[in-house]
Symmetry: C3
Subunit: 499 residues, 3 copies
């Protein structure tokens, strides 16, 4: 009760007192299990300060079940993966305080807030308390290193800097400034994540008077490879947004689409244009989005992104088809976007550690010599392909599936050849000094070359993988790949002619 009075005294309002009692009583009455005293006090103020997230939380499973109860579910139905959960939080529902107070000694963003020690940012290391397996799977994945894989890679850090920088003509030449941190936050780092640091405290004005809060740099940011003030990597809220932490939202393609969309990663668009997307868009309202485990054919009749890439699936009798994973590459054998050529998945999530024959942190040289020692071998590729095939086979027979993947393999090979043919022209221009290879992203001809692999070849591969033929053809597909190849060739001929 001391803390409750602390809060009440701070607010200096006798008037608040009866509201509070009523409010807490009403909150508890709505919910089946106990809400901690601390969380009740959080809500006491935040129902006025940020009512939207309080109500959002009330729609969540977190508000309606305690970890203790959650642990008693049969294994396949369980949504918590930690084998044990600390007693002090096990017996209350998962509220504000339960999440925003975890591991406070690690949190540089921890601060005193109306008598409590609160972390501003909740990190995967905090979620790990109940969701240990998911945190572990994620922690080694490419997603966890999404920021490092840009800024620790000298090629990609040039890319990040070139795109959103101010360009200006001086002396008949275009000069690139360095991109501002704010522009990087609104472009590459919005999806890849930023490093959130704490630079002292700052005063802010609230309805309850001035208060002091940690002065966070690079905030707000919910990128998937965010480096948090506790040193951990990731932002679970990227896919389980805000305070509902909804499995439904994570299972719908609208979530993945925030980052995996055209121009460079048209996964969402291809899905929408596929038969899977057609059925999803037409019938989604009749499906069971919250069931765990997720029953093929009964809970849904066509897959979403999550179905194929990470969900635990069972057949109608409840037998497991594939297990849940939060390493989103673990059912993938080949990487089809973001790099010059398609190539086997990297062994480690830290792709900036790769070094190819030319000494560059890329999985293949510009002329497509593969850095095989950093990539999974054929055996592992087959293991993963077979894992994915289990999902396909839920609805398609073997014949269908193998026919599909034969086309996909052919497309990877053909798009790689097309990119190699363009890169041969580009390399020739670099070699002859018609362009400057020291930064491969800052000249017009280089931008044409980048589009060839970063946009057009990618699109065709996604269209092949998920059957969205329009995108393979006329929408950033073969048509654009061809037209752009002509333009690169025209440019190259002009350079030869003029020099």
């Amino acid at each position: 009760m001391k803390k409750i009075f602390g809060c009440v005294l701070f607010a200096s309002s006798l008037f608040l007192f009866p509201i509070k009692t009523h409010a807490i009583g009403k909150l508890q009455q709505d919910l089946p299990y106990a809400v901690s005293e601390q969380t009740q006090i959080c809500i006491l103020c935040h129902r006025n300060v940020t009512p939207g997230i309080v109500e959002d939380w009330k729609t969540s499973r977190h508000s309606k079940v305690t970890p203790e109860i959650a642990l008693k579910k049969p294994l396949l139905e369980r949504r918590v993966s930690s084998e044990t959960i600390p007693e002090d939080i096990g017996s209350v529902v998962v509220g504000c305080y339960e999440c925003h107070s975890q591991n406070s000694s690690l949190h540089k963003d921890n601060f005193e807030h109306f008598g409590f020690h609160i972390n501003v940012v909740v990190s995967p290391n905090d979620c790990k308390t109940c969701h240990a397996k998911e945190a572990a799977q994620f922690s080694g994945s490419k997603k966890a290193y999404a920021l490092d894989n840009l800024r620790e890679n000298q090629i990609y850090s040039q890319f990040v800097d070139a795109v959103p920088s101010i360009k200006e003509v001086r002396d008949s030449t275009i000069h690139y400034s360095n991109a501002s941190e704010k522009s990087k936050l609104e472009t590459c780092y919005a999806c890849h994540g930023a490093e959130i640091t704490v630079d002292g405290m700052r005063k802010i004005k609230t309805n309850f008077g001035n208060i002091e809060v940690p002065n966070l740099k690079n905030w707000p940011n919910q990128g998937v490879g965010r480096i948090n003030p506790d040193g951990s990597r990731g932002a679970c809220t990227s896919c389980h947004p805000r305070h509902s932490f909804s499995i439904e939202i994570a299972r719908k393609p609208y979530t993945c689409s925030q980052c995996h969309l055209e121009q460079d990663i048209p996964a969402y668009e291809v899905y929408n244009e596929s038969k899977h997307g057609n059925i999803f868009l037409s019938k989604q309202d009749t499906w069971n989005w919250n069931n765990v485990p997720w029953r093929v054919g009964m809970d849904f009749q066509a897959p979403t992104c999550a179905t194929c890439h990470n969900s635990l699936l069972v057949n109608p009798e409840g037998k497991e088809i594939v297990s849940r994973t939060h390493d989103f590459g673990s059912r993938l054998w080949v990487r089809i976007f973001g790099l010059i050529y398609s190539h086997p998945q990297p062994k480690s999530g830290k792709t900036y550690e790769i070094k190819n024959k030319d000494g560059l942190p890329l999985p293949a040289t510009y002329m497509n010599e593969v850095a095989a020692e950093y990539l999974i071998d054929e055996e592992e590729q087959l293991v993963r392909k077979n894992e994915m095939k289990k999902v396909c086979n839920s609805c398609h027979n073997n014949d269908w599936v193998s026919g599909h993947f034969e086309k996909f393999d052919s497309t990877l090979s053909e798009t790689d050849t097309m990119v190699l043919n363009a890169t041969t022209l580009m390399k020739n221009m670099w070699d002859k000094g018609f362009a400057d290879a020291s930064n491969p992203f800052d000249e017009l001809i280089e931008m044409l070359w980048v589009k060839q692999w970063f946009i057009y070849a990618n699109s065709i591969r996604f269209a092949s993988a998920m059957i969205g033929p329009d995108r393979a053809t006329f929408k950033n597909g073969w048509w654009q790949l061809t037209e752009n190849f002509h333009k690169i060739h025209e440019f190259a001929k002009k350079c030869e002619y003029e020099h």
Copy 2:
């Protein structure tokens, strides 16, 4: 009854009579309050002639409540804003005749139709009978002057004419014809509105024989700045479409998206790609779309366009957060699209009245000298920004919100610089006679320059305002802004070289 007989006699059908009695009886039986005799007669024929809109109306609130009843609601729940409503229409539900007979003396499109005097077009001035505040707010807004702001502005009228005109090569030069009225109706004026005039009467064939109706010019048109045959401006049906007049439809982003979409105004696309859009798309079916007032967190858990820009919002206890507005710029302090540079909102909806230092009706000169006297001052900007922040603060704390707007301010400044750098190249070409400034929209190099501000800078600003990072980066964002800048520079260099 005389009128009923009029109708029946006209139809010259004894057979119709028993159907009619039954039909009117059945209609009234479906509806809780009285339907006027006139509306019953409208429906008697139109249930056969245009059954879709009769059924649509039956789904509406208009068909289920009388203005008298509506006026008795508590203030915040009230959907009618007029303080008094004429007695003759107050006691019946709002049917065909109630709307299509208002202010008939003002309506040049009024005509005798089976014994009644009917306006073809229902205008904001008619809706004003019950919705006085909304009509008043709208009437001074940029939306109300959307048509005038094109055709009364000598720069933008050139734009409207250049785009959909026939182009032809004669003597090695491209010649532009004047755009046809029909093409303007299908392009700019479809959103901005057209002027509907009446040119006598014309005969049309119907199931009930030939009838005479007003011969409307520029019809059909539902543009938001339509000039109606009663002289009023606007078309409420732009956002409250057809005969359901649904608040649900107006609150959903699909409505705004008809005009506010890429290439030039990618508000809808950015929203869809944002976390707000992600949550909306995933959870919309569980939200309460019809509640008035709209309760943050309870009725919905993420905002739509309407939430931030015009809805009346209350917190879960029913306390007002922001009031309803139908001046859609009234929570906006800066204008980020449609013009060369971002700039403070104009004071008046009649933007064609602006005159900048160069004498042009633009809020800034080509070199970004602002016409400050026509734009809101810093104090008013702050008032509006704070109004918007109240919406943000419903779910985000102050820290989050201020961090977000700091990025936005930086982006406005950076995109304006990028546009200025391109305009400097363009102006140099105009000054040197490499291009002809008398019409800035009709040469290839000018089209590149227009894309720089009209498409690419806009996209980055919208992406910043509503957090859709892909569009800031690769989809009409920094990438295209940069590539296009290179192209403008190449063109400029070629001009210098050749002359």
Copy 3:
């Protein structure tokens, strides 16, 4: 029972037996009418092998009604159109065996499968057993000949080959290889259909051991003009996907959108951006998607693709407005996409039979001289236009509709003029030898010309037909048509200058 034992014996599993009995019992218990013995056995294994499609089928009407019962419905409510249905399948629900065993003697893909003779591919000729009228309407349509209309047309077969072929620079010239069959399958043939042939048998591994299945070439493919192993044309599953055969899915625009989407056929995008799309997207969840006949205004309040182009519609009293058709061009008088100019619909679905004045299989010459004898005459155009107007008139009065179509006619004429002006430039380059007309798809300048008609003029026409003004203006509309015309002109001037 012999066959059941056959299956059980093959599976060599005593354990399977009790499961089977239970499984069949349970299946029958879920369903109102008898399931054939054969289908029960199919399901016995396939509920484990491909559970998704078994569950999908259980959601279908096929699983819940027998043809006998279906035939007893009043005519307008009937979903089967054959007047009689063979007795042996009339009394059981339409299960696996009922469809996959039809007309087996015609099926080159028929094979022995656990004691049954099964067709892999179910064709329109099989569906015809119950849906005779739909199969007949479809069989003469352009859709049925979608594959032939590409590969039997020497112009379009060049197009199909040029787009997805590997390009390479040799001796300073771009060389085109022939496109691989797999690439054609992933591009043009994915929508247009492929010819499925059978090349002997092949062994595949299953959970029940190795089995032999027909070795299908060009499989999987669900293109609408597929040539099936029984010689018939079409794939009903293009629009009635997988095993739910849902009328709901076919009525939603997500289905049509798989093929009718930008860049070349932006029907879906224009619809989404139209007022019809706005209402559909906002209110679809409240509509009745399964009612037959479909009641205007009651079952839905805005049309989808199916509403205007093929559904049987009735007014609220049940009176027919338009009849059902599976010849999707039968309410269309003009063709607005895919060819150089808009033109009256062809008389026959076999458009490759057309021969214009220049001897080419195109409905007009490059200079727009129409091959009138192959196209419907004015009288037939009027018949079809009036059919479409009946749909429009359900919600819009005559005045509105005629105003709309006047704009459309104007737009067809204007876009054709714009294309002619570009083609005049192109033809001049061909005539002067600046480009090589023998393949009009493989040079950069030709690609610009193709975009003029194949993408930009099309988009404006769709935007006009369905009122999506943004697309008429800035998104592959007049803006791009104009910018691209400038580029073609620049190219032409450069050729003149250099030669």
